[in-house]
């Protein structure tokens, strides 16, 4: 195998120092994505800097403003089953549990989840052109088998999808990503964290080289009364979303006061459209209104040979999931459609 050295970092400066030294040094958290990429020879690491033992950010804590801070090194499963998350942010809990398998969720960390790479078949096959893997080589998916690819926010250089479920909920919840780097700390609104492919599909997000995600903050508003996560995929578990929807609704006097709708499986990042959410405000929570919101969200969708179904599927999924949010009890295990 490619030899690499292993470094256990106990504090941030040590971690930064090692990654600065070697170009091909990588942080490793749960390893569920990174190790696969190394085995496929897509990521070559001269050293792995283990950030699982960094001091701090191993807990879920309440914030003074009523929000919650999710440590970057807390495992996905521990996050989903945390009492505060289950009680106040059940949407997040549901979304996490719709992803991967129990074993993977036990290993995967919150920070790593944000940074997992696309599942585009061509990206994983080093012998095919792929702009994300090898900038300038071309995109095999555009004219290839693109059933799983994006319909929104694509570019001529890449039509890949960001595969996370957890992040769809985090986007809906207006989370904030806290980052540490050698130059200090900064925070990015969730919407600004992931990127669209544009001319630089090799960049999935706006994290700078060497930076570490330390935690993710979720504001107080958790939509715990009216929420739902729906995931549509080719099998009932252990498959990535073809389309997923996270919905949070705030109702008052029978009208929608606030609405959040984020889509997964359709773009290079979780997809939210403010106009659609604004449209729903002060409206009745009816299938008709949700259908109109869905039209707004899918506006401008661009389809490819094998994924044109995603537009209609996404519209219907939005409507169903918003209806499910009115009655969260109707959600089924595995984020399947309500009975």
């Amino acid at each position: 195998m490619n030899n690499f050295s292993y470094i256990k970092a106990n504090d941030l400066p040590t971690a930064f120092g090692h990654v600065r030294l070697g170009d091909a040094a990588k942080y490793i958290a749960g390893g569920t994505n990174l190790i696969d990429l190394m085995k496929y020879n897509l990521t070559k690491a001269s050293s792995l800097v283990d950030i699982n033992h960094l001091v701090g950010n191993h807990d879920i804590e309440e914030l003074p403003d009523g929000g919650l801070r999710l440590g970057a090194f807390v495992r996905n499963a521990a996050t989903a089953y945390h009492p505060l998350v289950e009680e106040r942010y059940p949407l997040l809990s549901r979304a996490i549990l719709a992803g991967a398998s129990a074993q993977i969720r036990n290993m995967a960390t919150n920070g790593g989840n944000l940074l997992q790479r696309t599942r585009c078949y061509y990206f994983y096959d080093a012998n095919t052109p792929c702009n994300k893997r090898e900038p300038g080589s071309g995109c095999s998916a555009i004219l290839g088998y693109n059933r799983i690819m994006a319909i929104l926010g694509t570019s001529e250089s890449c039509i890949a999808v960001f595969p996370s479920d957890m992040c769809v909920a985090l986007a809906a919840l207006d989370a904030v990503v806290n980052i540490s780097g050698e130059d200090g700390e900064r925070s990015l609104a969730f919407a600004d964290f992931h990127r669209l492919p544009g001319d630089t599909p090799e960049l999935d997000n706006n994290l700078k080289p060497g930076e570490i995600i330390t935690s993710i903050d979720i504001p107080q508003k958790g939509f715990a009364r009216n929420y739902s996560y729906l995931k549509l995929r080719d099998r009932n578990s252990y498959a990535f979303a073809l389309v997923s929807v996270a919905t949070g609704l705030e109702l008052e006097n029978g009208l929608i006061k606030d609405a959040r709708i984020a889509l997964g499986g359709v773009a290079h990042k979780p997809w939210r459209v403010k106009e659609a959410e604004d449209f729903l405000k002060e409206k009745e929570p009816s299938a008709e209104n949700f259908a109109q919101a869905a039209e707004i969200i899918l506006f401008g969708a661009k389809v490819f040979e094998y994924n044109s179904f995603k537009v209609e599927l996404a519209k219907r999924a939005i409507v169903r999931n918003c209806m499910m949010a009115l009655n969260p009890e109707s959600q089924l295990p595995g984020a399947q459609p309500s009975a």
């Binding site: 490619n2 061509y122 179904f309």
Partner: protein, 745 residues
């Protein structure tokens, strides 16, 4: 008390504990000092020539022993025949590292041998390979114009060409009262057993090899190695006691066997070659197939014209065929038939039998067409099958050795609650879900091949039975013990089975659902001969109580020979062996099917399958919520292992109808989802209520045991039953497998 017959008992697999505790060793798990590891290099182009290898960087790594390519391989057998195995289709078998030609994507083109697996794999990444690429074709549907009649060869014995046309199909079809014509398709599928293909070859010196191979036929591998490398068969021992599933992928020797043996002989050291999961997509597969049907009936629903045509994919070097169009007229009588089967040669590796090859393909078209006809005629789908029920095999005009399919329909329908079905599509619902009931018929041939078995009574009076046959996870070893136990009147605990070793008596490859009949009959014959021999020895004993008796006058029970009517008068097996100066009593028997008698009958297992699906009305999401399979397969030796076979087939049916597909990029000529994350087979959450009924079926003609085999029948009828249920639920007919839920939007 006498020992209860073991046949018919639901005995758990005798090796089950070994398997679940990790004590069972598989081909890639035999360790010996000095073992070397090979990692296969696969072509990254689909077609063309290798111009050069640059092995410098790889070879420079300490611990890399050798890199084999076509340029430096030893000289090998030259004739095609030497490479032909028991399951080789007509044509020229693939020869690993033969020359610079690349004829399929992923073709093995080299082997790195190193001191560790990881090192070998790493070294493989440092190889620089230059190719000259040529254009290729891998898309069946785009090349249908190239279809041709398959050539005939040895394999044709078990896979006869389509039956001859009868009557005048075109005219009868044109004049029929109700007509359906339809087209069906499924793409490539790969076997993907859990255990990866692996071979560990131990170089014993003097041209002798001991080979641990993942295979469905130890003797098949032995002959293959002997022929290619010019070794004496007796010097090549192939052992394969445990096989972690194969589903047909082990019916032919795979390239890791060749490479492991080649390296071991050249380096004179033990060498193991294990494939990784993506390499499991670089050899045989179920071929993509297009099918066309045209069925016509009279006003009562009786079929009067039947045309079934299939065009399958094969490689450029071999004509791999399947029985796809041979079934319709076996199931349903028709005076006018036209059955056609053709192949298109593509730039792919040769396809390979995959569980219920051809049968599951054909039934997809036949049983969906029958369903469509039932709606046209407004006749219940099961009723339509009963109207067309054929007591004999109408394609050959022969009686069946037995056929209890009618009981399968009736008992299956009863258990399922078929009578509650509202015939209207889209008429049944539950909340957001449309409910569909669908049914279909299954059929699979009951073959029987020659085999040998050895049976011994040892000095403890216990029975030892051996055969070279493998147990690919079906429970073969357990039912061998059951059959043998009953032959000698012993409890199963007193029977020791040895198997999975080419040194043992001859057995053909394990597949085609013929192994129980084949090996079971051989054991039965050996048991019978052993009884005779024991009796004779007992008679020869001093002052034997049997001296004036015939074998008909005695019984074999509880480890003794006793007088039928007075069990107290007995001699134990142990005493007989003692009287034989302590020498074990041994028989070895070659059992040959009674071909002449068999030719008078068509022999097949049948099934009726009933399925309930739920389809989300807005989102299309499909769940198979209930299924019942009623099977008539002659005598069931072990209801537990047999049930597992059928359940496995039913789970696979969900897979075939709704989940699995090898995603092919036809432009790049390669398979894109070469891992189990993206090659979707069902997960627990996909599998719901499943039930199996074994219908009683007595068959005195098929073989001495009256068994038909249950390995494939579970996968034949259920996929179309699912498609039919989806139609009943939604009013949409999707004739392509797998059915993607979004096609129902």
């Amino acid at each position: 008390m006498s020992t209860r017959p073991a046949i018919g008992q639901p005995i758990s697999r005798l090796e089950g504990h070994m398997k679940v505790t990790g004590a069972a060793k598989y081909a890639g798990e035999y360790n010996v000092p000095g073992l070397l590891y090979g990692y296969v290099i696969n072509s990254t182009i689909t077609k063309g020539k290798i111009i050069s290898f640059n092995t410098e960087a790889a070879k420079a790594l300490p611990g890399v022993i050798e890199i084999f390519t076509h340029e430096n391989r030893p000289s090998l057998a030259w004739f095609d025949l030497s490479y032909a195995d028991m399951d080789a289709p007509p044509g020229s078998p693939f020869r690993p590292l033969y020359n610079a030609e690349v004829s399929s994507n992923g073709q093995p083109i080299g082997l790195v041998v190193a001191e560790t697996f990881e090192l070998a794999r790493y070294a493989a990444t440092l190889m620089e390979i230059q190719y000259e690429e040529e254009s290729f074709r891998v898309d069946l549907k785009e090349n249908l114009a190239e279809a041709h009649t398959p050539s005939i060869g040895m394999a044709t014995m078990l896979k006869p060409p389509p039956p001859k046309p009868k009557g005048d199909f075109e005219e009868a079809f044109a004049n029929s009262y109700a007509q359906v014509s339809a087209e069906y398709f499924h793409g490539t599928e790969h076997h993907n057993p859990m255990e990866l293909f692996a071979t560990t070859t131990i170089y014993e010196g003097d041209g002798k090899l001991t080979i641990y191979d993942k295979t469905q036929g130890t003797i098949n591998s032995q002959l293959y190695v002997g022929n290619i490398f010019g070794l004496h068969f007796k010097d090549v021992r192939v052992i394969s006691p445990y096989v972690g599933g194969a589903f047909g992928s082990g019916l032919r020797p795979q390239y890791q066997l060749f490479l492991s043996v080649m390296a071991a002989l050249e380096l004179k050291r033990p060498v193991r070659v294990t494939l990784d999961r993506s390499q499991m997509f670089t050899f045989g597969h179920r071929p993509q197939t297009v099918q066309y049907t045209r069925f016509g009936t009279d006003e009562y629903g009786k079929i009067i014209a039947m045309n079934h045509k299939a065009i399958g994919e094969t490689s450029k070097n071999e004509d791999y065929t399947e029985n796809v169009v041979n079934w319709a007229n076996m199931l349903y009588a028709s005076k006018n038939t036209l059955m056609q089967y053709e192949l298109v040669d593509l730039d792919v590796f040769s396809p390979l039998d995959m569980r219920a090859p051809g049968g599951s393909t054909g039934s997809h078209a036949i049983e969906s067409t029958m369903d469509e006809l039932s709606y046209k005629l407004k006749i219940d789908p099961m009723q339509l099958r009963l109207i067309n029920y054929s007591e004999k095999d109408d394609s050959l005009g022969r009686p069946y050795s037995s056929k209890e399919l009618r009981q399968c329909y009736l008992q299956g329908a009863e258990r399922f609650g078929w009578a509650e079905r509202n015939p209207e599509p889209r008429s049944m619902r539950r909340g957001n879900k449309l409910i569909g009931y669908g049914m279909a018929t299954g059929i699979w041939e009951a073959n029987h091949l020659p085999a040998r078995a050895e049976a011994i009574i040892d000095s403890e009076g216990k029975l030892q039975v051996s055969s070279a046959v493998t147990d690919i996870g079906t429970g073969m070893m357990t039912i061998m013990a059951q059959i043998a136990a009953d032959e000698l009147g012993l409890p199963v605990e007193d029977v020791a089975i040895s198997y999975g070793d080419s040194k043992m008596p001859f057995a053909p490859i394990q597949g085609g659902s013929f192994t129980t009949s084949t090996i079971g009959s051989a054991i039965k014959a050996a048991g019978k001969a052993l009884r005779k021999k024991l009796f004779k020895k007992a008679k020869d004993m001093d002052s034997s109580i049997f001296s004036s008796m015939d074998i008909e006058d005695v019984a074999f029970r509880d480890g003794k020979i006793s007088v039928k009517d007075s069990p107290a008068l007995s001699v134990s097996f142990k005493e007989i062996v003692a009287a034989n100066k302590g020498k074990a009593i041994k028989t070895i028997n070659f059992s040959v099917p009674k071909f002449f008698k068999l030719k008078k009958y068509s022999r097949a297992a049948h099934s009726a399958v009933f399925v309930e699906v739920e389809v989300d009305e807005q989102l299309g999401v499909i769940n198979v919520t209930r299924a019942v399979t009623a099977v008539a397969a002659g005598r069931i030796i072990n209801p537990k292992t047999a049930r597992s076979q059928i359940l496995g087939g039913m789970v696979w049916s969900v897979s075939k109808a709704l989940r699995e597909e090898t995603i092919t990029d036809y432009r790049l000529g390669k398979y894109m989802n070469q891992n189990l994350g993206e090659y979707h087979i069902p997960v627990h959450a996909d599998i719901h209520d499943m039930d199996v009924i074994f219908v009683e079926e007595k068959d005195e003609n098929v073989n001495e045991l009256g068994t038909k085999g249950v390995g494939e029948i579970g996968l034949v009828g259920m996929p179309p039953a699912i498609a039919n249920a989806v139609y009943h639920a939604t009013g949409k007919r999707i004739n392509q497998f797998p059915i993607h839920f979004d096609s129902l939007l």
